[in-house]
């Protein structure tokens, strides 16, 4: 908990950076919103969304982008750097579990960015366009739970990337490829429901869908009824558990390697 608070405070000190980020997310929001307007003008109800829902998708995506580290950034570079320099040996001596420690720090960071970089772009979007934001507080609560699960899935994927540095030593190439996949498969570029055919069905089953597409569908209420919401959150929870478990296995394999390498 105190690690998470530390992560929150650490990012809260960068005031101008946060303001710059809000500005950037808002500018991108406007640009993408206009292209979606043009697209949904041609094809109303594309991907099962009406125009207001499509615009909501744009603005909420911009709000979640920094929190989920969807276009890069986040902790894995720091973890890789510690592995490369050997500082990781110090972390392994700590009485805290390595994975839990980074998870807490990353959730603290995400929590700050959700508030600091999430609220204002969404407000700007809601002022300039007609959005389909729900008025039901329960839906918002489900959305927040879904966002949290999405953040954990995102963390678990990036933790695996970070640990890859034990074998690759230098992570910028892997990080770049991972960013490509995340942008494409999370729904950041286009809602996954717009992707055609079997390919669309496949990307909706992958863990990246849990990071953005599923929280947005929960907010927009496209999963009808209680069963739909439970299925959506269950999908996210299953991926979170599977990937965190994979992270544990890789971590224990990696720590055996540290001894061999001598740090």
């Amino acid at each position: 908990m105190s690690v998470a608070a530390g992560g929150f405070r650490r990012y809260a000190t960068y005031g101008t950076a946060t303001a710059a980020g809000v500005f950037t997310n808002t500018v991108f929001g406007f640009i993408v919103a206009y292209t979606y307007l043009a697209l949904w003008d041609e094809r109303p109800h594309l991907g099962g969304y009406d125009q207001a829902q499509a615009l909501t998708f744009v603005w909420v995506s911009q709000s979640l982008l920094a929190a989920g580290s969807l276009i890069g950034g986040g902790f894995q570079e720091e973890l890789q750097e510690r592995i490369r320099t050997g500082d990781i040996a110090v972390d392994l001596y700590r009485p805290a579990d390595l994975q839990a420690w980074w998870l807490a720090a990353d959730l603290g960071r995400a929590g700050f960015q959700l508030l600091g970089r999430g609220v204002l772009p969404l407000v700007a979007g809601a002022c300039a366009f007609t959005l389909a934001l729900p008025s039901d507080p329960l839906r918002w609560l489900l959305f927040l739970v879904s966002v949290c699960l999405g953040l954990v899935v995102g963390f678990a994927v990036r933790y695996l990337l970070g640990l890859a540095a034990f074998w690759l030593l230098e992570g910028s190439g892997v990080n770049m490829m991972a960013t490509v996949v995340t942008i494409f498969c999370s729904g950041m570029l286009l809602p996954l429901t717009v992707f055609p055919g079997g390919f669309g069905e496949l990307v909706r089953l992958l863990p990246w869908a849990a990071m953005l597409q599923v929280p947005l569908d929960v907010l927009l209420g496209t999963h009808t009824g209680a069963g739909g919401a439970v299925r959506a959150l269950g999908f996210q929870a299953a991926w979170a558990l599977a990937l965190l478990g994979a992270g544990r296995l890789v971590q224990s394999a990696a720590t055996r390697k540290v001894v061999v390498q001598g740090g």
Binding site: T16, V32, A38, L39, G173, M176, F184, L189, L190, P196
Partner: protein, 299 residues
């Protein structure tokens, strides 16, 4: 290992630049430009050698760099699997806009993109070390961590541009043929001016590096789509305030034989090189003012 290579390279740069014929003290404006380019080349070469230490990672990063931009275009292609035209423009027409702006941004990013690190350099005090070296500061900052992987975006942009030119149903005149390469280079100049202005802004605003992304990456995302998609106020801003419309919209509209939504005359399509100069000049003046006002953190 990379750090060691970097340190060794830095020492080499200092020594060689100091031993040049035109000493830093007596260099005229042409000497300074030559010195700047030479210093830039040396530092960039050093970073290329350092990157090549991890070849596999470099390869992945270059492919990834191209792939990120390819996916941009895949998204447009996915849109076109549902519609025939967007804002009245067909897929090859949008590919022309997309390829030109992607290549321009890639070029500017390769040559000047790392100027955005100046904020970090100011914060950690390492700018001080750069100030005492006999190479112009802008050249050092621009070549700092020179990233050859950014060739990926340029290649990808030129590829899409080539495809667009080959399939477009355009009556090619000499002026139109000439305008395509001019558009790419002048566009890079405009983006480069924005990057230098953004770097200068960091002397005032500290860690606000991300603002310039709105104009470079955000601008490029906007320019990928036809101007007819956007609201008139946004078009006016992109023409008269931050003249991104000259990167590709105005030249491409001329090539495609389409009118400008703001009703500007056709000859403005040829103004891009002038506009690039007009952006670069105040940007470099702002940079100089920024360097003059610089107060070290003392750390």
């Amino acid at each position: 290992m990379a750090e060691a290579a970097a340190a060794a390279g830095t020492a080499a740069v200092t020594r060689e630049a100091g031993a040049g014929e035109a000493g830093p003290g007596e260099a005229g404006p042409r000497g300074r430009l030559w010195e700047g380019l030479r210093g830039y080349g040396l530092i960039a070469g050093m970073w290329i050698r350092s990157t090549m230490t991890y070849r596999m990672s470099f390869l992945l990063a270059t492919v990834g760099n191209a792939a990120i931009t390819v996916l941009d275009f895949v998204a447009i292609a996915v849109m076109f699997s549902h519609v025939d035209a967007l804002g009245g423009f067909t897929l090859p027409e949008i590919a022309l806009l997309y390829g030109a702006c992607s290549a321009s941004l890639g070029l500017a990013d390769l040559l000047l993109g790392n100027t955005e690190r100046v904020g970090t350099r100011i914060r950690d005090g390492s700018l001080d070390t750069m100030l005492v070296r006999p190479v112009p500061l802008l050249a050092q900052v621009a070549a700092d961590r020179f990233a050859l992987r950014r060739l990926g975006r340029i290649v990808q942009g030129l590829g899409v541009l080539g495809w667009a030119v080959s399939v477009l149903d355009v009556h090619w005149t000499p002026a139109k043929v000439l305008l395509v390469p001019v558009m790419v280079v002048a566009g890079a100049g405009i983006f480069g001016g924005v990057l230098v202005a953004g770097a200068a802004f960091q002397f005032v605003a500290g860690d606000a590096a991300e603002v310039q992304n709105s104009f470079t990456y955000g601008g490029c995302t906007m320019l990928q789509y036809p101007p007819t998609v956007f609201a008139k106020e946004l078009l006016r801003g992109a023409t008269f305030v931050v003249p991104l419309a000259f990167v590709n919209w105005l030249p491409a509209l001329y090539v495609l034989g389409r009118p400008d939504p703001l009703g500007l005359p056709g000859w403005v399509a040829f103004l891009s090189p002038l506009v690039a100069f007009a952006v670069f000049l105040p940007a470099s003046l702002a940079w100089r003012a920024g360097v003059r006002s610089y107060r070290s953190t003392g750390s």
